[in-house]
């Protein structure tokens, strides 16, 4: 978005002016980028800050000084702890189930051409782009119609449903970039189909499986809309928070949010560092 226009001045003058303007444009863009990043981080900073708030009342709304006590009293609210535990259980199970099923679908879509692959792709696409609200609502319709009670199993069903597509798409795009002859080479060298998959294909798609699984985990632990429809009286972390806002969030929520944030940060930072180190030996 350098906004230099050709000026009618001498041709030999132009390069310097242009460079200077470009530098200015770049600098503006640079500042803009950081402004947006700052904006994106504001609510997180506030959340973290108020986890250290030495609030006296039940309501954590005004800053009254720094304290670490809420970190010590993290698990003091049993219902919140339970909700977080539920969220973690569901997210882990979802990662395993949706990770497996999604990987299989991704493999099939990436590797084979078959009758119905177009339809499968379309369904994947529909799941990803359908409004969450509608998916949650339709699942509730189904559960109501079939008299299935709501709880952790129904939440899990819903989470796996929308996670499969994401995992499948991630795995599929990796499989598409794979040289399919590599697996054939393994078969050619005496490996049975399963051995070839275990020793060759799976290690190669593993990064995609991992990031698909991570995506499934994140989607699950953060999901509110679909969970809200399928949870019944079961509480998950986002549901509990949403409910608790009506009477004021206890500082423990900020602390938990901060800790989850920190863990996510560490994992992602590790990823970035690993990704940075890799190319040095690759190229």
């Amino acid at each position: 978005m350098t906004t230099t226009l050709s000026t009618p001045t001498g041709a030999d003058l132009e390069p310097t002016t242009r460079r200077r303007r470009r530098r200015l444009g770049d600098r503006l863009l640079f500042a803009y980028t950081w402004l947006i990043i700052l904006w994106l981080c504001v609510p997180i900073a506030v959340m973290i800050l108020f986890g250290f708030n030495d609030t006296k009342g039940r309501y954590n709304t005004t800053f009254q000084g720094l304290t670490l006590k809420w970190y010590g009293r993290l698990f003091e609210i049993p219902a919140l702890t339970d909700a977080l535990a539920n969220s973690l259980i569901i997210a882990v199970l979802n990662t395993l189930i949706a990770g497996t099923l999604g990987t299989l679908v991704g493999l099939a879509l990436g590797r084979y051409r078959f009758r119905g692959d177009g339809t499968t792709n379309l369904v994947m696409f529909a799941v990803i782009s359908a409004p969450e609200l509608v998916m949650g609502a339709s699942l509730l319709s189904l559960f109501v119609a079939s008299g299935v009670g709501l709880g952790i199993p129904t939440i899990l069903i819903a989470h796996v449903m929308f996670s499969i597509s994401f995992v499948a798409v991630v795995v599929r795009s990796r499989v598409l970039t794979l040289d399919r002859y590599i697996e054939e080479a393994a078969r050619d060298l005496g490996a049975g189909p399963w051995t070839a998959f275990r020793l060759v294909t799976f290690p190669m798609i593993f990064p995609a499986v991992l990031s698909g699984g991570l995506l499934a985990f994140v989607l699950s632990i953060d999901d509110f809309v679909i969970t809200n429809f399928t949870a019944g009286t079961t509480q998950t972390f986002p549901l509990w928070i949403y409910g608790a806002t009506r009477v004021g969030l206890p500082p423990q929520v900020n602390v938990m949010g901060t800790l989850i944030f920190a863990v996510g940060l560490l994992i992602a930072a590790g990823n970035v560092i690993a990704a940075r180190r890799r190319p040095s030996s690759a190229r």
Binding site: K56, G57, R58, Y59, T61, P78, A79, L140, F143, V144, G147, V148, G149, L150, G151, A231, G232, T233, T234, Q235, G243, A244, T245, R246, V247, G248
Partner: protein, 417 residues
């Protein structure tokens, strides 16, 4: 039984975080008392009892073979018990029954919507005891047979200590499915720091000078009641025409931009954050908010009237531990327990005798605590007097679901507009 250690309430409160704002609390309760002069009279039954009581053998059939399991899951509204749960600790100490207490109910509609599919499917909702308000959903629970019929032979404290009027409610004749937890008044709360002229009437909620600063309830029944009462109609005697007029009145208020938002339990937070200055409110919340946060909000029973409602303990039909649940139910009708509970929540207790105990606590306490407990014992919000009872109205009673749906469809578009 009626001899708690004199330090009990002080001790319990000492563990909470309320101490610093005690003084404000005292001031508020005094002001509330002035605003609300209630006649000493029980909660009257409404007469039009619907014959929904279960047959005798249904009760026997339900309770047959049910035994104590040593635990109970209790679902309640926020701010409805001291967070330290002293009463529950006492219960566990005395009976060995462990209680898991969760403040998961925030509004009746959603709570019914969440539990109904599971209950209808015959599955446990994870709770053995829940506190539900009389009203549309209460009726739906009963009509759909989703509540366990109560075995009154297990409710000896209730029989002995509950106020007479609480045994003759219209919504649950003979307490077939529920016993009261607490009653409260839906009135107006406002912030005197922002609203300079004291609020006295429902009509004040329609004043354009408070444009964008008025909060109303998203619960169609609570909202509809105010619309009816501002028009001078008693909700319990209202007709479909009245409903339409009330809706028009409410629409007027909304279209003029007076209403900031239609709130659920979060209204109290919005009041605290200065989002709204005047709002529909539940009596005890305001008191608690003032105590907890040192705010100075006022609660008013408007001249045109306010509604009284009762929250009731009920056992969902699929409860896993119904015997433990009914034991806990009855426990709350012990006078000492009712007293400490009322001391904290400041809603109307169904156990009139509790007043005496609180007075005893007050006598035993000293300084601020003494003042505080005295004010509770004398608060018309906890122990209503007869005087202004004429101002309190009951909810609309629907004869059938069609009428109820009609009521909802009239007021719903206002909330969802």
């Amino acid at each position: 039984m009626n001899e708690p250690t004199p330090f009990d309430p002080v001790l319990f409160r000492g563990m909470t975080q309320r101490r610093l704002s005690r003084r404000d609390a005292l001031r508020i309760s005094g002001l509330s008392a002035a605003a609300l002069a209630l006649a000493a009279c029980g909660v009257k039954g409404q007469g039009n009892t619907t014959p929904t009581a279960p047959a005798e053998d249904a009760i026997a059939k339900y309770w047959a073979g049910k035994t104590k399991n040593g635990k109970v899951d209790f679902a309640n509204w926020p701010l409805y018990m001291d967070p330290k749960q002293p009463e529950l600790k006492k219960f566990t100490a005395e009976t060995g029954i462990k209680v898991t207490y969760q403040e998961v109910i925030e509004e009746m509609g959603p709570w019914f919507a969440r539990t109904q599919p599971q209950l209808s499917a015959g599955q446990s909702i994870g709770f053995d005891l829940m506190v539900i308000t009389n009203g549309i959903q209460f009726k739906q629970y009963v009509q759909s047979s989703l509540l366990a019929p109560l075995d009154h032979s297990k409710l000896t404290n209730f029989k002995a200590n509950a106020g007479a009027s609480y045994k003759t409610s219209a919504y649950d004749p003979g307490n077939a499915y529920s016993v009261p937890w607490a009653s409260g008044v839906t009135g107006i709360a406002y912030d005197p720091a922002k609203v300079k002229t004291p609020i006295t009437k429902l009509a004040d909620l329609w004043k354009t000078e408070y444009k964008g600063r008025v909060g109303m309830f998203s619960d169609t029944q609570e909202l509809g009641n105010f619309g009816l009462m501002v028009n001078g109609v008693d909700p319990a005697k209202s007709t479909a025409t009245d409903w339409q007029n009330a809706a028009n009145k409410l629409k007027e208020q909304k279209d003029a931009g007076i209403v900031r938002k239609y709130y659920d339990q979060s209204y109290i937070d919005a009041l605290g954050a200065g989002e709204v200055w005047i709002t529909q409110a539940w009596s005890g919340d305001v008191f608690q908010k003032n105590v907890s946060d040192g705010t100075n909000f006022q609660f008013v029973i408007p001249e045109e009237g306010a509604t009284i409602w009762t929250d009731n303990m009920a056992i969902p039909i699929t409860a896993v531990n119904p015997v433990d649940a009914i034991t806990l139910m009855d426990f709350f009708f012990r006078v000492d327990i009712a007293a400490t509970l009322a001391e904290y929540i400041n809603y109307i207790t169904p156990v009139p005798e509790a007043q005496k105990v609180i007075k005893e606590h007050a006598a035993a306490a000293s300084g601020e605590d003494k003042d505080f407990l005295t004010s509770v014992a004398e608060s018309p919000l906890v122990f209503p007097s007869t005087a202004d009872y004429s101002k309190l109205r009951y909810y609309v009673e629907f004869e059938n679901t069609a009428l109820q749906q009609q009521f909802q469809s009239i007021f719903e578009p206002i909330v969802l507009g």
